[in-house]
């Protein structure tokens, strides 16, 4: 990025009140294993895992419950020891509350680990073998995207990336699980970063941490001091700094083309939590079965970070953490900017759960939308350089292709536009709707196309069959005629 570009750089993004403290300053609290854990088979982007246990079977903590099904998938493991009580549907951690497949374990209270396989020196492993073990440990992107990490490691190796970006920015307000992890487990994260460097062949790692987390920056800086290939770089606290493309520009000056992946410009982004999980997998042989979860919001009785087994219900977690202070007006999974509303708390913690927020009415700040006054705040806030007000106007008029032409596909749904909108227009909802509707239309077009092709093929086949039948009949008739003629000639010859 040139000097002029820096001076005239668009001041994208927003500065929401971060509200991370006091929760971030409380040391993480381990939570007792509940009576039952519900472990969904799809906690990642890609195909759901395939169960390999039976109802009634005894399992140990860390034992594989379901294995990866396909290239982009990840296994899931028991987060405590006990008996498989059921394999069936539970409500998804999603606003719809629709059912998902999950393995239910009735805990035996012993919380006994199964024997993991620990390599003597993980750096002696071939990069491919390291990635395979990360895959077997069920590690997925812990920043919320939950993309299977091993797939990314392999991609990085193939694309010959030079720089690993470690995302410790944690730009969402309220959340502090990454902050806490960096403060308490900096050495393990650095170990994980070195393992990822080994597995991808990248030369250096840059750890981006927002400057509102001085303790984490200090802890990580100290842990990385002995390793010249790892640099800890404070980045300005500005939402959404933690978004891949924005962080890559900030830390490397490289801009990822809209139709390309980060690896195409020689970069791979992993979250600090993922680095920690990689360390646990390769150094201790432990699969990803627990994580730090932030409980926060004005209606949470004891805001803080909790070490939670995957599969614990949010309701059990809140109960273990003192319940609510007052009546929460809104329950959110994730941060307030991109998190999803939960219709109820009977949903399990999954690998990508960074936190649960119990927001008061004042915090949720809901109000009736008013007409757009074209103030342009959304345009200045958009980190992608889009025109949210123009796109939403087109979507309101059902002109989806018009919105697409304005760059709807480049929208990352970060919510900056709706955050600054004085009219409280539900802009993100418009964009979600339009993206969903467009892919539905695309699917239906594809379906029509294939139906049309099948119909054409059938017509062609019927015609061909008729033609062949007719030809065969004609051939048989000709043969019969020839035979008759031969017979007639023979008769004539005898007669002669």
């Amino acid at each position: 990025m040139g000097f002029l570009e820096r001076v005239f750089a668009r001041p994208w993004g927003v500065h929401p009140e971060d509200r991370k403290r006091p929760a971030a300053d409380v040391p993480a609290v381990p939570v007792a294993v509940p009576e039952k854990v519900y472990i969904p088979l799809a906690q990642h982007v890609g195909a759901p895992a395939r169960p390999v246990v039976l109802v009634g079977q005894k399992v140990l903590k860390g034992q594989c419950l379901a294995e990866a099904a396909g290239n982009i998938s990840a296994p899931v493991h028991a987060s405590t020891s006990g008996v498989v009580a059921a394999i069936g549907e539970i409500p998804a951690p999603h606003p719809s509350g629709l059912p998902v497949q999950a393995v239910t374990i009735a805990a035996d209270g012993e919380d006994r680990w199964c024997e993991g396989e620990v390599p003597a020196d993980p750096f002696a492993l071939a990069p491919q073998e390291a990635a395979r073990r990360v895959a077997a440990a069920g590690v997925v992107g812990m920043g919320g995207a939950t993309f299977p990490s091993a797939v990314k490691l392999a991609l990085g190796l193939r694309a010959k990336i030079d720089t690993l970006i470690v995302n410790g920015s944690e730009c969402e307000p309220y959340l502090s699980c990454d902050d806490r992890l960096m403060r308490d487990r900096a050495a393990e994260i650095v170990s994980g970063i070195r393992l990822i460097l080994h597995a991808t062949g990248a030369r250096e790692a840059r750890v981006g941490i927002e400057d509102n987390k001085p303790e984490a920056i200090a802890a990580m800086g100290e842990a990385a001091a002995r390793h010249g290939e790892i640099r800890v770089l404070p980045v300005p606290a500005r939402y959404p700094m933690g978004s891949d493309r924005q962080l890559i520009v900030e830390l490397t000056g490289r801009e990822v083309p809209s139709d390309a992946r980060a690896a195409d410009v020689g970069v791979l982004v992993h979250n600090v939590g993922t680095a920690f999980a990689v360390h646990e997998a390769l150094r201790l042989g432990r699969p990803l079965v627990e994580r730090l979860v932030t409980l926060n919001g004005g209606a949470a009785a004891r805001p803080g970070n909790y070490r939670v087994p995957v599969g614990m219900l949010a309701a059990d977690l809140f109960a273990a953490a003192g319940g609510f202070a007052g009546t929460p007006a809104r329950l959110v999974m994730g941060g307030p900017m991109m998190g999803t509303v939960l219709p109820h708390l009977q949903v399990p913690v999954v690998k990508g759960t960074s936190g649960f927020l119990a927001l008061t009415a004042a915090e949720a700040a809901a109000r009736e939308p008013a007409p757009c006054i074209r103030c342009g705040s959304c345009i200045r806030a958009c980190p992608m350089g889009l025109l949210p007000l123009e796109m939403s106007a087109r979507i309101r008029a059902e002109d989806l292709s018009g919105a697409d032409g304005l760059g709807l596909r480049d929208c990352i749904a970060c919510g900056c536009c709706a955050y600054v909108c004085p009219s409280r227009s539900p802009l993100v909802q418009y964009f979600h709707y339009a993206k969903g509707e467009m892919s539905a239309r695309q699917r239906s077009t594809l379906r029509q196309e294939s139906t049309r092709k099948l119909a054409a093929a059938r017509v062609e086949r019927v015609e061909r069959e008729a033609r062949e039948k007719a030809e065969a009949a004609a051939r048989r008739k000709a043969e019969r005629d020839a035979a008759k003629a031969r017979a007639a000639a023979a008769t004539a010859g005898e007669a002669a």
Binding site: G88, S96, V249, G323, P336, M337, A370, P383, Y419, V428
Partner: protein, 378 residues
Amino acid sequence: MSPPNGGGMGRTPEGAVPAEGPGVPAGAVLPSPHAHGGASVSRTMGLVMAALAPATLFGFWMFGWPAVHLFMMTLAACVLAEYGCQRLMGRRSSLGDGSAVLTGWLLALSLPPWAPGWIGVLGGAIAIVVGKQVFGGLGQNPFNPAMVARVVLLVSFPVAMTQWVVPVPMGSPGAPDFVHGLQITLAAPPLPDAIASASLLGHAKTELSRGADLAQVLGAAATPPHDWTGLRPGSLGETGALLLLAGGLFLVFAGVIGWHLPAAVLLGLAVPALVGHALAPARFLPADLHLVSGATVLGAFFIATDYVTSPNTTAGQWLFGLGIGVLTWIIRSFGGYPEGMAFAVLLMNALVPAIDRWLRPRILGRDRAGRPLALPGD
């Protein structure tokens, strides 16, 4: 989508109890984000009005009760017109957002302070009905409603719209009291010669058309005073230029408006004025008089910056503002009317959709034309 606590819950293992009851809200699907920066339309409008208040009060003091009455009648007309339109269209009233009051306020500031009351009432109705509601209300109008009304009035009633008075501050001898002021606003008696006056721009235009040399005209005693203190004839929003400038800067620092657009308007007017006056002082007014006269400051900070009718990118705002400044200078210098800000704003308003189409921000990962960036290796 299933009801929040409906179908999906029935299949819960051991009927994991739906979390209804105390402490947990009934689940409604609400879009993210679940936080807000606190900006609101009514807050924005309120800040703009606060920025206008000092100059307005100064104008009230200087031109007395007739100005107050005219101002109030114009605002009342706007509010009533807004209410009536929304009533007729069966829409929810949006008077609470303050936009109708602000439209009336800006229109009133652009009128001669002793203009008859019906001018304000008619102008207010035109601004709201023709300028705004026929297009669908707030946010939908292509032209600035206050300027639409001002231009209609100026073209239709040129005499009433150019009758200026010398300042007769409240409390000074000869200043009309409340009742007398009401008589002036309602009955519109002919203005006594003692206080009738021309504005500087009007005077200069008249003298120029008589073939006079501007350099001499500006030095003559008969010329209306022209300075930044504001004790001179003009509309309410013209004379207190310094107070308006202060209000405008307040809006810039409060983040309500950007600095680009006002700067562009002022530059667009000042640069040609400087050049013109340097080349032909007898023909063109100096730049400082352009900046202090007419609706320059009001227009640059409060009219051109109207969100609805201005472009929405910084580059677009530069183009738009420069256009307004240059057009204002051209109309003032060569047109038939002494003041051109309202015309310039409307002309540039018409270009806004085109400007917004041409000047879009670059999308991250794409070039200016919207194509994905090329990879370094390609």
